[in-house]
């Protein structure tokens, strides 16, 4: 169901994207395709334009030039919340969790379920808790020992799961961008997070993974989009290339040769 099916239309199409910050050309004429049910990794050196590219996809930045199509429809997004409305969300490395609140409160942060009490909207903590339990288990296969603890007391992988659950709770989610999800994790937690990514992919999402770890990329991604100096240096399939090939694209070895 991944990119093996060449006839399938890509769900996400970014065409000729350029972005200038004052005099700095952060991106020039970048194309990106991503298919439903695949993990597309974006790799590249610092300053290669990875973050700019995904911030354009998630509506944080607006491209200087270029167009974005999702599901064949052209999108103009002026803010991150526009992107969320279009089913595009991101999980950042910092996870954006409030450590003192419990997992349910974090999952619904900014999007709380309420019920009316004498005409005043009050938080429906019970429903948020059961929904959190359901989404964590059904979508991510994660069961927490207790939902009654501050998020600070969870492990790195569990915190990641809560942050992902927040994104996937939105029914219309089609594209999930994950920015360096394993950067701060130990080997065991990294393995669990990669497993979560595979689970999401099997559910038909486009997962766009930004990572510095080629090991992780080759473990979980289907294709790799290499950014170099603001341009796309190449897109390779994980199945028929090696880490050496990708490394070569990142540092520009072919160009030099």
């Amino acid at each position: 169901m991944s990119s093996d099916n060449k006839d399938a239309e890509p769900l996400v199409v970014m065409r000729n994207i350029s972005k200038r910050f004052g005099g700095v050309q952060a991106l020039s004429q970048v194309n990106l395709d991503a298919y439903a049910g695949e993990v597309l990794a974006i790799v590249g050196d610092n300053g290669a334009g990875k973050s700019t590219l995904i911030k354009i996809l998630t509506g944080v930045y607006q491209p200087t030039e270029g167009e974005i199509f999702v599901g064949g429809e052209k999108l103009v997004m002026n803010s991150h919340s526009d992107a969320i409305d279009q089913g595009i969300d991101a999980v950042y490395q910092t996870l954006a969790l409030a450590d003192h609140l419990d997992p349910a409160a974090n999952m619904f942060l900014g999007n709380e379920l309420t019920r009316s009490f004498l005409g005043i909207p009050t938080l429906d903590n019970k429903k948020m808790r059961t929904e959190t339990e359901r989404v964590l288990f059904e979508r991510l296969g994660v069961r927490l020992r207790s939902l009654d603890v501050p998020t600070a007391s969870l492990s790195g992988g569990q915190r990641q799961a809560v942050a992902i659950a927040r994104a996937v709770y939105h029914e219309g989610l089609r594209v999930l961008v994950m920015d360096e999800p394993t950067a701060a994790l130990g080997p065991q937690e990294t393995a669990r997070t990669l497993k979560l990514i595979k689970t999401l992919k099997e559910q038909g999402l486009v997962v766009i993974l930004i990572s510095h770890s080629l090991d992780d990329v080759f473990e979980v991604a289907d294709r790799v989009h290499v950014q170099r100096r603001g341009k796309c240096a190449g897109v390779v399939k994980v199945a028929d290339s090696s880490q050496q090939d990708v490394l070569g694209l990142i540092v520009g070895a072919e160009e030099a040769a």
Binding site: A98, H100, L109, G110, V149, A161, K195
Partner: protein
């Protein structure tokens, strides 16, 4: 689908008691005071009339402690509440005494005025980007100054019955009216904290401001809400104080700020944000009132109250910080900690200052002549 049940480590004792920490702290101290007074002055301390006095005193601080819990949980602070209380009640007193306003309208006006002052504080902090400590300290000068401008040195006294009922009325066979008001505000605070957007976002903002911003919470607006609540609560306390004393002047309520902050912090609400305990704040208010009443009962000079409040703030913040410290690896204990090179340098500094003081006292007393009367 694969199921990964993350095997967590079993709950440690410290984790398990953590939610109750806020209550345990002040409860232990309250028990300590009860025990001590039970030995030292049982007859006078546990008299019903004295317990009533303690409750009356505590009631005054309950609305402010409730609101301050929100402000502090958001990593804020408000040092202007004493002046807001004074200025709002001075205006209210003038409306009643000089302009013949009916008491309920004047009281409502005072509460709205307090809310307005809170709004100004909130705008100064969020829109003009003045740090809360400096911003509210400066506004404290403004409000206090305005109160002095309006009232000069006047003491406005003798108000209608409604006012004194609010301040010191007694429900027959039950608790005083102000205690009912105080407890109602605490209950309102508990509900706000647990059940509303305002409470939820207050904790989120204090816990992780960047995350709150990223999830689309209007951080500035919810901060302003907290200061508005604070201002209105301070004004309510001002009204209650006016009723209690049946008098008000521009210099009233000078110690509100630190007293309220002490009560909230003793109750386990963290000055570093994100951890709120409304029950703890209530316990903190009771603790402080009991402590001050104990000092009075023991006939200790009034000025020691200020010393006691300060010591309580510092020791409780230090205690909570120490309890919160997750990682004590490498710290081999107190004595070992003292022998590191850096600690030795600090010890030397302590010795130097202490020794200097002693030396100066010694030289001074050797060279001293006959005492001279001042003035």
């Amino acid at each position: 689908m694969a199921t990964t049940t993350h095997p967590g480590t079993p709950m440690k004792l410290s984790e398990r008691i953590e939610p109750f920490l806020a209550i345990i702290g002040p409860m232990v101290m309250i028990l300590a005071i009860l025990l001590f007074m039970g030995v030292a002055e049982p007859a006078r301390y546990f008299r019903l009339s004295n317990l009533n006095l303690i409750l009356l005193d505590a009631a005054l601080y309950m609305p402010m402690a409730m609101a301050m819990t929100f402000v502090i949980t958001q990593r804020g602070i408000d040092l202007s509440i004493g002046s807001i209380a004074a200025l709002s009640s001075i205006v209210m007193a003038f409306l009643i005494k000089q302009y013949g306003f009916s008491t309920p309208i004047a009281i409502a006006f005072a509460l709205m005025l307090g809310a307005l002052f809170g709004l100004i504080n909130g705008l100064v902090i969020t829109k003009f980007k003045v740090p809360d400590l400096i911003g509210t300290l400066a506004m404290d000068l403004v409000y206090r100054g305005l109160a002095l401008v309006i009232a000069k040195g006047l003491v406005l006294a003798r108000f209608p019955d409604l006012m004194t009922d609010i301040g010191r009325g007694q429900i027959p066979g039950f608790i005083p009216v102000p205690v009912v008001i105080g407890l109602l505000t605490m209950a309102l605070g508990y509900w706000l904290l647990k059940k509303t957007y305002f409470g939820r976002y207050t904790v989120a903002i204090g816990s992780n401001p960047e995350a709150a911003e990223m999830t689309g919470i209007a951080v500035d607006r919810y901060k302003i809400y907290a200061y508005v609540l604070m201002g209105a609560s301070a004004a309510l306390a001002g009204v209650m104080l006016t009723g209690k004393l049946n008098a008000i002047q521009a210099t009233s309520a000078p110690y509100f700020n630190l007293h309220v902050i002490a009560a909230v912090v003793v109750g386990g609400t963290s000055l570093f944000g994100g951890r709120a305990s409304m029950l703890g704040s209530l316990a903190g208010v009771l603790l402080l009132s009991m402590m001050i009443n104990a000092l009075v009962t023991l006939r200790i000079e009034f000025f020691w109250q200020s010393v006691a409040s300060g010591v309580v703030i510092v020791s409780s913040v230090a205690l909570y910080t120490w309890l919160q410290k997750k990682d004590r690896d490498g710290a081999k204990g107190f004595v070992a900690g003292l022998t590191t090179p850096e600690s030795l340098r600090l010890l030397r500094l302590c010795g130097l200052i202490g020794g200097g003081l002693l030396l100066l006292l010694l030289i001074g007393s050797l060279l001293s002549g006959a005492p001279v009367a001042s003035g």
